[in-house]
């Protein structure tokens, strides 16, 4: 079956190209984009949330003691590593 045949046709699509499911982009795992991944040194992290506010995706969530990375979405921009005031994030080559 071709990819085109899997997509819905005009009869079943909501009119006017309206998207009724909010945030449906989350099915798109942009983590496949990255060349390097951020790795957290949890001992250094003070949960200051600076990386969290600057992340363009978002690919950083607030954990209980430290932040956590969403590797499903992280594009590997490296902003978090540069901005972390404790230098707790290191960009590491994707294996």
């Amino acid at each position: 079956m071709s990819v085109e045949e899997e997509k819905p046709g005009w009869k079943s699509l909501p009119i006017g190209a309206v998207l009724v499911t909010p945030g449906s982009a989350e099915r798109n795992k942009t983590g496949t984009w990255r060349l390097k991944r951020p790795v957290l040194d949890a001992k250094k992290c003070t949960n200051c949330l600076i990386c969290w506010i600057y992340c363009p995706e978002p690919a950083i969530t607030r954990g209980t003691k430290t932040i956590e990375f969403s590797y499903d979405y992280c594009k590997g921009c490296g902003i978090c590593a540069i901005e972390c005031p404790l230098k707790a994030i290191v960009m590491t080559e994707e294996s």
């Binding site: 190209a17 998207l19 499911t21 945030g23 982009a25 506010i53 600057y54 363009p56 901005e83």
Partner: protein
């Protein structure tokens, strides 16, 4: 002023969007959604943020959101406000229009002017990456002097754009708006506070936020916030507010970082460091100084 911990964790601008790695406008959009305290309806002009966040059937948005055309975000917002006023729901909703510098400074200036003059209650946020980035880095009225874009390329004869950046806030202030401000994605606290002030205002408010583009400005993707900070610290992009015509400086820069530190890491300014364009580099410095002095004087802060 806000603290990071008190900001909502809900991501109304969600992941899976296709903004470039390290995109300044993407970070700006996320911050904006954390700043808004009422339910929002967003209007988005054609541009990077709109195109890359809603490729059918995917949408990154978890709020009601509409994109129509390139130049009419402010007009569409006007219509939505009228509809909400009729329903008696206008006070319960924040209407926010997003436009890039392209959709605001140039093609969108008429619709913005009309909406400001009619005093619709909405917030217009111009995310400024200083060129028409979505269509491939062409110059806009917000592109600074000396920058290389694809329609003002740095050639052997002409070193980039030879016109100065338009004063968007000045245009808005001339309309008598309650609130207008510049902001920068690197100063999240200042930005979020300003978005909240803008949203709280009865009537139109405009925020002009600098949001660097790694692809268009040609720098490493991890430098977005660092360069945005330098833009402010070199006095290149002054941060200020205008409340009912009264200018107020948000950040004094008594010891500005040399402009070269902001320019050198960006490919779009590299040509200015060639000896034959030394006078153009000086002209850019002169314009940055002149603009800073103009703003400082308006703010009553000479020597800031």
């Amino acid at each position: 002023m806000v603290t990071l911990k008190e900001l909502p964790t809900t991501e109304l601008f969600g992941p899976g969007h296709r903004m470039c790695t390290g995109c300044g406008p993407a970070a700006t959009a996320r911050m904006t959604m954390k700043a808004l305290e009422k339910p929002a309806i967003l209007v988005n002009a054609t541009g990077c943020l709109e195109v890359a966040s809603t490729i059918y059937p995917e949408t990154a948005w978890r709020v009601p959101w509409v994109h129509t055309l390139f130049e009419n975000a402010a007009a569409v917002a006007s219509g939505i406000e009228a509809s909400l006023l009729k329903e008696g729901k206008a006070d319960a909703v924040d209407i926010v229009a997003f436009g890039g510098d392209g959709g605001t400074f140039d093609i969108g200036i008429q619709a913005l002017s009309g909406a400001l003059e009619r005093k619709h209650d909405f917030t217009y946020i111009c995310y400024d990456n200083e060129a028409y980035m979505n269509t491939g880095i062409q110059r806009s009225g917000a592109t600074p002097y000396g920058a290389s874009t694809t329609t003002t390329p740095a050639g052997s004869k002409i070193p980039g754009k030879m016109d100065a950046k338009k004063d968007l806030i000045g245009v808005c202030v001339a309309h008598g708006v309650e609130y207008a401000a510049t902001a920068c994605v690197a100063y999240w606290n200042d930005y979020i506070t300003k978005v909240r002030r803008a949203a709280a205002v009865k009537g139109p408010a405009v925020i002009h936020v600098l949001a660097p583009c790694p692809l268009g400005w040609r720098f490493e993707t991890n430098q977005t916030i660092k360069l945005a900070k330098l833009a402010v610290q070199t006095r290149y992009f002054p941060l200020y507010e205008v409340e009912r015509g009264k200018y107020k400086l948000s950040m004094k820069i008594p010891k500005p970082v040399p402009l070269e530190e902001f320019l050198k890491p960006q490919g779009r300014f590299r040509h200015l460091f060639a000896s034959e364009f030394a006078q153009n580099l000086e002209e850019l410095k002169r314009q940055v100084d002149s603009n800073w002095n103009r703003v400082a004087q308006l703010c009553g802060e000479t020597g800031a």
